[in-house]
């Protein structure tokens, strides 16, 4: 896929939207205006943006507990997401899902997921659909370094490999799983190495660099689309904030985080690169910043003004109760 002006601008808009959306969430939680179990993606924006920039309408992503970034990058409506997090009827999931369950299957977003590793087989199944229905689509599973220790990871990658499914497994190695450093629980240097167990190709991308993620994801997705089977793509990244909003971060060396934040911020890196390459100019960036910031403010206002679901809705949407005649 060519990185046209429009696409570069879109990529910046996506990353800025994720950043601003989540900075707003943190603010809202701190103000006591929002509650629930919230995990923010701050610092990892280039991964979702880089991968999803390679995807289209008929492609699917399955996400994680840290799912806002994937949802935004896959085109889920930000106003709906904000309303969802406020628990309103106008939310993406009518207020029933919340942060860990934002989904929009029509947009190819199979859901954030509260169960570590659970999205991996789901994406595998979406890839099976694409293969059997010959849609030309690809399915991407996003998951963490921690999730690569779940049985679902192992079983799914093996299945995708023997069936040569159009799937891409994107492991977001952010160095931590909850309060545990990755190197305590993953004894190999690169999680990408684990692809060998399935005779699957692997790639490693700099997850703080949109352009590197975009390129490597492009290679993996092109292989999947053309019938070449699945790829494990490891994106080395970093979680700027705590595990959840409210995490005091006492377990993590301060200097480690500071180093990543000052030296490797994906938005700053992106801006520097596009400015120096002349892909975008300062005006472009500022225009996007402004648009995004207004969009988020509007989303908050609309969400706060929106109605809560009616108590009676607690029992709706459990079953479809519909039926398809053969």
């Amino acid at each position: 896929m060519q990185l046209t002006y429009e696409r570069v601008l879109g990529a910046y808009r996506t990353m800025r939207m994720i950043r601003s959306f989540e900075e707003k969430l943190v603010e809202l939680v701190n103000l006591g205006k929002m509650s629930g179990f919230l995990h923010v993606y701050l610092g990892e924006e280039a991964v979702a943006a880089g991968v999803c920039a390679q995807l289209g309408e008929h492609d699917y992503v399955a996400s994680t507990h840290r799912g806002h970034g994937h949802a935004i990058a896959k085109g889920v409506d930000v106003r709906g997401m904000m309303a969802e997090l406020f628990g309103r009827r106008t939310g993406t999931c009518k207020g029933k899902g919340g942060s860990m369950h934002i989904a929009d299957i029509d947009k190819g977003m199979l859901g954030a997921n509260g169960i570590v590793g659970a999205g991996i087989p789901l994406a595998t199944g979406a890839a099976l659909t694409a293969k059997l229905k010959k849609t030309g689509g690809v399915a991407v599973a996003f998951f963490g370094d921690g999730a690569s220790n779940q049985g679902a990871f192992h079983e799914s990658l093996n299945l995708a490999s023997i069936w040569k499914l159009p799937a891409v497994y994107v492991v977001e190695n952010n160095g931590w799983g909850e309060f545990t450093p990755t190197d305590y629980v993953v004894p190999v240097k690169d999680i990408a190495e684990r692809a060998r167990s399935y005779a699957m190709p692997a790639l490693i991308a700099d997850g703080m660099d949109f352009f590197d993620v975009f390129a490597k994801a492009g290679e993996a997705i092109a292989r999947a689309r053309s019938g070449g089977g699945p790829t494990l793509l490891e994106c080395k990244t970093y979680r700027f904030a705590g595990h959840y909003v409210g995490d005091a971060l006492a377990y993590r060396p301060k200097d480690e985080a500071e180093k990543w934040m000052t030296e490797r911020d994906p938005l700053r890196g992106f801006a520097e690169r596009v400015l120096s390459d002349g892909l975008l100019n300062q005006d472009d960036l500022q225009r996007v910043d402004g648009e995004v910031s207004r969009h988020i403010e509007d989303a908050v206002k609309a969400a706060e003004a929106a109605p809560f679901p009616d108590a009676s809705e607690v029992t709706t949407d459990v079953y479809a109760d519909s039926h398809r005649r053969g």
Binding site: K94, A126, L132, L159, Y319
Partner: protein, 334 residues
């Protein structure tokens, strides 16, 4: 023209009809195509119990999919495929194996529609063999349908004979919700009448298989036959029993249960599963809530004891409900 078939054949017939009628229907499981999804002609297996034998020849390796022994990926992928447009029918060899693939049912299939605000459809069927009676011991003999019945978002059905198996399975596959289709070991190789052609038995409706007026015997799966045998013997003593086959464990046909209770005032549930937190308790609890005014006697539950399933034939016989245990329970009510 009536014909008799073993339940396993009736299941194969339902699968064939569903596959022929809807290109989105696929089968996934261990050895369901015969092992290694090999070319047509080497389909001698068809699942460990043979229910899918021959389907690979007719429908080919794109629709009849052998999987590795990776039930978590199998179930999870089936959920993902169902959410994106397929209508997968999974064979989970024995229901005991739920232990290694519970999350895709508990937290994914059952909850997608609700969590996503009604914007998901999960047309998934899980066929799975349940129950004791083949000396297969504690890890291959459980009746765990109480677990799937207790999870909002799933439906669970269990046939008591070959003809019902065919019609219920067709309904399950065509249902837009995830359905667990239980195949009780004790009826899989029993033959009974199976209508030709395509027909459905609705999910959520019980079936009154015998009319009597003195006592209601409520069964499901293999215990329906036990109830019927008990009823014949009771008839000789002059006690006439209604026998209700639940067919669907979730939704539960509360109306049918209360109707038979209303006729007889005395009710016994017969369940092959263990007694705690089961279908039998739910039926009893329904009777003492909405059916309180209809009750003339305690509601008795004839179930397995609260133990794992033993191996030895003599212990397994002691473990399972029998017509005599039902008759003894009935006598307690008069």
């Amino acid at each position: 023209m009536s014909r008799e078939l073993p339940t396993a054949f009736a299941i194969g017939e339902a699968l064939r009809i569903a596959l022929a009628g809807d290109p989105d229907v696929i089968l996934m499981g261990e050895d369901v195509a015969g092992g290694g999804t090999r070319p047509a002609g080497t389909d001698e297996a068809g699942g460990i119990l043979g229910a899918t034998r021959g389907l690979i020849k007719e429908f080919g390796p794109e629709r009849i999919l052998d999987t590795p022994i990776s039930e978590m990926a199998l179930l999870g992928a089936a959920v993902g495929a169902a959410a994106t447009g397929m209508r997968p029918v999974v064979e989970l060899m024995f229901m005991d194996f739920l232990g290694v693939c519970f999350d895709p049912l508990l937290n994914q299939a059952a909850k997608f529609r609700y969590m996503f605000g009604g914007k998901a459809r999960l047309p998934l069927t899980v066929r799975t063999v349940t129950g004791a009676g083949m000396h297969a011991a504690a890890q291959h003999s459980q009746s765990l349908y109480w677990i799937t019945s207790g999870i909002p978002g799933l439906k669970t059905v269990i046939p008591s004979n070959a003809g019902d198996a065919k019609g219920l399975l067709l309904s399950a596959i065509r249902c837009d919700d995830p359905v667990i289709f239980c195949e009780p070991k004790q009826i899989l190789f029993l033959s009974s009448e199976v209508p030709e052609g395509d027909y459905e038995i609705p999910i959520g409706k019980a079936n009154l298989v015998r009319q009597g007026g003195d006592v209601s015997l409520v069964g499901m799966g293999a215990t329906v036959n036990i109830a019927l045998q008990a009823a014949s013997q009771l008839a000789q003593e002059g006690i006439q029993a209604d026998v209700l086959d639940l067919r669907s464990l979730q939704p539960l046909d509360e109306e049918a249960i209360l109707t038979t209770l209303g006729k007889t005032g005395r009710l016994i549930v017969i369940d092959e599963a263990t007694p705690r937190c089961g279908i039998a308790s739910d039926v009893a609890a329904l009777c003492v809530d909405k059916g309180f005014d209809l009750l003339n006697a305690p509601v008795k539950r004839v179930t397995a004891p609260f133990s794992p399933v033993p191996f030895s034939r003599v212990l397994e016989e002691a473990y399972l409900p029998t017509p005599q245990k039902v008759i003894d329970a009935v006598h307690e009510l008069f």
